[in-house]
Symmetry: C2
Subunit: 324 residues, 2 copies
């Protein structure tokens, strides 16, 4: 089975890890391939180095190198580089990177500086983490640098800050007035992205943030049209349980675009291409947009096995939709 | 007393540390200032980051952060960044950098990328290491990127390799045919360099490599003329004892330019501006060029106190020459 998935950071990565575990434990799916289209709107240049938080979280999580407690960054990290940069007065106090993580960003920046595309760089990083051997391809949504900015008012009038500053420094507690994706007007889908949607047997939307992860990917020219046009069923997993995000600040993001924080409202954001929607048992009664088939089940990804069960349920729903 | 010194890496830095110790222990010299003109010919771009080995060795040594055994790099270093870069296939196997050291190079590269000159960047780094508080100014010889390349023949005909590759990978064991300083044709002395020579009370040449450290600085337009023209006595310390370098590969470098590895021959390289020359007791009979006053004493910098004694002897010789 050819599976294509859109993904943000932690939530998406954990879902995808579950998906791989499900494929591994299901003999009939052993030859499956998974193509992941990763959000790059969170990307940021820090200390002169290009950092791609969502792509790295997917790489580290699928490559068994992630800091399990945080959900992002590397396990067993040190902070010697950051300490030296602090002694030099370089870093903002709201963002730090570990030493191993710096290795990734130094290599990425080096390769980008040599003229390689982000797709090529990401493929190199994916090899280091063993993804090709597992049938997994990770594609950035676009090779064009884009950055999600958030318009906020901390007092003194509206100003745009980088998404990471809003997410990390402000902890998304300052209301977002709107999101602006700098560079998206020049962006085109990275090589393979639109084909991966068009030729998939099933397209999955992990429980990633519908506004600043999935929503950003949907804004890449051609992606939404490809989702509308693909013959593959598109099955999503609600990122909300009883109106609250399982992780992160999806509710704050939804508020900024005037959408209520419910599984129904998120499904409605995808109504033009969504076929199936998994909701938590707590939301079993959620109304669905026309043409969307929902299934209720536990959605908490408490461990890899639970995530595998959710991914399996999403695939099953996709197969069911394809047959109907 | 206004002291100006030219310096390469380890040998120069250890001499300068001794100089500061001597100034500290000598009440009459308590208000002295020291301006160091550092060699930048060893500079290299590694992993996309700008590395200035000689400047950093001076900073770390004077700032009490150096790895004492190596003579360069940081004490108590880790290598997590390098290990990650190795996992990604990035580094050549003959050069590694520690994590703290990476912090320096990331900051330097960031600031250079923001448009700051190497002089400005070096001043920032010097503040982190407390140099201004001790009356010390560290100047790069030039703000223009220059790189010493070495023409060698490993079999297959002459080829130019970066100085660091010859020095570190080949351990200077492959004969150098000549040295070429890429970029020197566009170089000008960094702000303050020529004035520091012209207005000094004494100019010191530490026992740095006469070819690839001092020799490179002397090649910066205006530096040699300033040394010839300054009223300050110029006093040097021989980098050779009984024809052998105390450290490093000065003999191999001298061979490449057809100069014999003796204290006399090195003094002759500086004859057009040199006033005083310290040689080791073993070389007490060394012939001096016309106009050069030599003194023999132990020149092994076995510890800071020994280095302070050598620096004190150099200053004393300078004072003696100024009075004569």
């Amino acid at each position: 089975m050819r599976v294509t998935a859109l993904s943000g950071g932690v939530g998406g990565a954990r879902f995808l890890r579950g998906l791989l575990a499900h494929l591994d434990r299901t003999p009939a799916l052993a030859d499956s391939t998974v193509t992941i289209i990763g959000n790059t709107g969170d990307d940021i240049t820090l200390f002169g180095l290009r950092v791609c938080p969502d792509l790295d979280t997917v790489l580290y999580t699928l490559g068994r190198g992630v800091h399990e407690g945080q959900g992002w960054g590397r396990a067993d990290e040190g902070y010697a580089v950051h300490a030296e940069l602090s002694a030099l007065g370089v870093p903002p106090d709201w963002f730090s990177l570990g030493d191993k993580d710096f290795g990734t960003h130094i290599a990425r920046s080096l390769w980008l500086g040599q003229g390689h595309s982000l797709s090529e760089v990401t493929a190199r990083l994916a090899r280091r983490w063993g993804l090709p051997d597992r049938g997994v391809t990770l594609l950035p949504m676009t090779d064009v640098p884009v950055e999600t900015h958030v318009v906020v008012d901390e007092g003194g009038g509206p100003q745009a800050v980088h998404f990471q500053e809003w997410w990390v420094r402000m902890r998304a507690a300052v209301p977002a007035q709107r999101f602006v994706v700098a560079g998206m007007d020049r962006a085109t889908a990275a090589p393979g992205v639109l084909d991966a949607i068009r030729t998939a047997d099933v397209v999955l939307l992990p429980p990633s943030n519908p506004v600043v992860s999935i929503g950003i990917i949907l804004g890449v020219p051609g992606v939404r049209d490809a989702l509308r046009g693909t013959r593959a069923p598109v099955v999503g997993v609600s990122p909300l349980v009883s109106g609250r995000p399982v992780r992160g600040h999806a509710d704050a993001c939804l508020a900024a675009i005037g959408v209520s924080a419910t599984s129904s409202a998120v499904a409605a954001l995808y109504a033009d291409f969504l076929g199936g929607w998994l909701v938590d048992d707590a939301d079993a009664d959620a109304a669905m947009p026309s043409g969307v088939t929902s299934r209720a089940r536990p959605l908490l990804m408490t461990d890899i096995s639970a995530a595998a069960d959710i991914a399996g349920a999403a695939l099953d729903l996709g197969v069911e939709l394809a047959r109907s």
